[in-house]
């Protein structure tokens, strides 16, 4: 093959390689800028499993959709859940659909064996120096009512804004504990 063709194909391949992370950045920034904000209340997780490497494994309280449109999905299959706000300002899963619902904020989740859903956001990465203190802060506060994950949702896409522990962003809560 002529060298000029190899170089041309290389440039095309390089553009695809850049496009994948660049698209993720663009998508997430767009959701963070324009998405509707929801507070998902966190639940305590198995302490041994909470910190795998340098992220907090997330678990949530209200993972049972209030209503289900159509037949019960098979466990492990995707399901689209509409997200609304309750009287206290926290997120609730109002309805579950087989296809993306129109006109409502929703996320794609997985139907689980217990009749609830597994939400797609499952981890929160943080600075490795802060991990040990963050672990104790999360363990202590996850049992309280004022711990939640702030997520922005736009057109079925989602972006994590921050993890709040005891009413403060995790990084701040860890800073105070020092």
């Amino acid at each position: 093959m002529k060298q000029i063709w190899i170089l041309a194909i290389f440039v095309a391949v390089a553009l695809i390689q850049v496009a994948v992370p660049a698209h993720t950045i663009w998508r997430q920034e767009r959701i963070l800028a324009a998405g509707a904000a929801f507070k998902f209340r966190t639940a305590p997780v198995d302490p041994n499993d909470a910190f795998r490497g340098r992220f907090v494994a997330l678990s949530f309280r209200d993972v049972f959709p209030l209503a289900l449109e159509g037949a019960t999905p098979e466990p492990g299959k995707p399901v689209y859940v509409a997200v609304a706000e309750d009287a206290d300002g926290y997120a609730v899963l109002s309805e579950a659909f087989a296809a993306p619902p129109a006109g409502k904020p929703y996320v794609r989740a997985t139907w689980d064996y217990a009749g609830g859903v597994t939400l797609p956001f499952d981890r929160f990465y943080l600075d490795e120096d802060k991990a040990p203190e963050a672990e104790s802060a999360y363990r202590k506060e996850a049992r309280q009512d004022n711990s939640y994950l702030l997520v922005r949702i736009l057109d079925g896409g989602w972006a994590i804004e921050d993890l709040y522990v005891g009413g403060k962003p995790l990084a701040e809560a860890v800073g105070e504990a020092r």
Binding site: Q3, V11, V18, V20, P21, I25, E29
Partner: protein
């Protein structure tokens, strides 16, 4: 390589030999002409390539670790752009290599390795910055798919090997449905992915059939292929695993015997070695009665019909391997290669095992004992006849392993074992005597 070492030793000896009068100057000159000049650069060139790959991998790995620290102070967008910048630098280096140093293997391998690491690092960093999570196997597959073109364009080995490992890991993580490839039936997913990498091997083989790149890919293939093979045949494996495994082992061995037997060293024969080791392990396992307890042929016909209708793609893949094994076996028989003809019969013996096992469960195991005995003796005799010590040892290894297994097989009574051992031992002595006599006749 070893040859050159011996030539270097010979050249080292020449001056002394001439001084002692054992060789004339003329003979020494003729020897030099026969073996040619010593290539000083060959070893060094290889070292440069290896150091290039190793250096690039270390730098790439170091950058990944630095990024994994998660520099919160830098802010989201800065970290995202940092990931892209890293990728740009690696791509720029590769572009320069393609444009200015396309002939240098060291540059191509090094730049290809660095770019592969940079691709992985940039996706991982962005995913970490935005907490997008996701399954590890999906990350690995995306990374490998993005890096595969680098393997082709730069003719680099590491991205190709990464790809093989990634698709095997991805396949092993798939349980009920394919997430990334919903458009192909589960059973085909691994083979579709594998097909994308095989032309790379074809190109490497055409360049140098026994070269380091071809061999490395071959080893990565034989180590990862069984994972994808098992996953794509998982539904029918409960009853059919002896046949599926025998087909895979036979194809590996026969293909290795067909195309790699003339390689100068063992490490250049990945298919042959993997096939031979697989044959030993599988054959010995199937020589135990317990292995056949649930493999009766009638049960197969009764129970597998529904399974077959539910997973036709899976059976098509398995049968394709059986057909490939039989075709290679027919080729070995036609060429009259004794050891390949013996080992290649494995799938046929497994089928016979199913048929016998239906009437007498112990019969299938007995058949495999007999088969291994024939293979062991056959390979041993072939080794003696062709004066190949490797074959002699392989035959001895099969026989000793078989004897060892039977000695500790509690299914057989002491009397039966005792008689069998005496018969086999007598056979051994007789064979030895015959061989020695023949050899003696040849010497005389």
């Amino acid at each position: 390589m070893d040859d050159r070492k011996h030539v270097a030793w010979l050249y080292d000896q020449l001056p002394a030999l001439i001084a002692e009068g054992a060789l004339t100057d003329e003979t020494a000159a003729r020897l030099r002409a026969r073996y040619g000049p010593l290539e000083e650069g060959a070893g060094r060139r290889r070292a440069i390539v290896l150091f290039g790959i190793l250096g690039a991998a270390l730098i790439g790995g170091g950058v990944i670790l630095l990024l994994a620290h998660n520099w919160e102070a830098l802010g989201r967008l800065v970290r995202g752009l940092l990931a892209l910048a890293l990728l740009f630098i690696a791509q720029g280096l590769s572009f320069w290599v393609l444009a200015r140093r396309p002939a240098s293997m060291a540059w191509r391998e090094g730049a290809g390795t660095l770019q592969t690491m940079a691709i992985g690092a940039s996706i991982a960093l962005v995913s970490q910055t935005y907490h997008t999570g996701g399954a590890f196997e999906d990350f690995l597959l995306l990374w490998a798919l993005l890096a595969l073109p680098v393997a082709y364009l730069l003719r680099a080995t590491l991205p190709a090997i990464l790809y093989l490992c990634a698709i095997a890991y991805w396949a092993s993580a798939q349980t009920f449905f394919a997430r990334f490839l919903p458009f192909v039936p589960d059973a085909f997913a691994y083979w579709v992915l594998l097909a994308l990498a095989l032309p790379w091997w074809g190109l490497a083989l055409r360049e140098n059939r026994h070269g380091a790149r071809s061999s490395l890919f071959g080893w990565a293939l034989v180590l990862t292929l069984p994972v994808g093979y098992a996953l794509s045949l998982q539904h029918s494996a409960e009853v059919l695993w002896p046949l599926w495994c025998c087909a895979l082992v036979a194809v590996l061995y026969l293909a290795g015997e067909r195309w790699q037997a003339d390689a100068p060293s063992l490490r250049q024969r990945p298919l042959l070695i993997a096939g031979a080791l697989g044959f030993g392990a599988l054959g010995l396992f199937l020589s135990f009665g317990d292995a056949w307890r649930f493999q009766a042929f009638q049960a197969l016909l009764r129970g597998e019909r529904e399974l077959f209708l539910a997973h036709p793609a899976e059976f098509a893949i398995g049968l394709l391997w059986v057909v490939a094994a039989l075709a290679l076996w027919a080729d070995a028989l036609r060429r009259g290669v004794a050891n390949a003809a013996l080992v290649g019969a494995l799938p046929v013996v497994a089928l016979a095992g199913y048929a016998i096992g239906d009437h007498a469960p112990g019969g299938a195991a007995a058949l495999f004992n007999l088969y291994l005995l024939i293979v062991g003796v056959g390979v041993l005799v072939t080794g003696f006849r062709t004066q190949r010590l490797g074959l002699v040892n392989a035959g001895m290894a099969v026989l000793s392993a078989l004897i060892f297994c039977r000695f500790f097989d509690s299914d057989l009574g002491f009397v039966a074992r005792g008689v069998a051992f005496i018969v086999v031992g007598a056979g051994f002595l007789a064979a030895n005597l015959v061989l020695l006599r023949k050899k003696g006749a040849a010497v005389r």
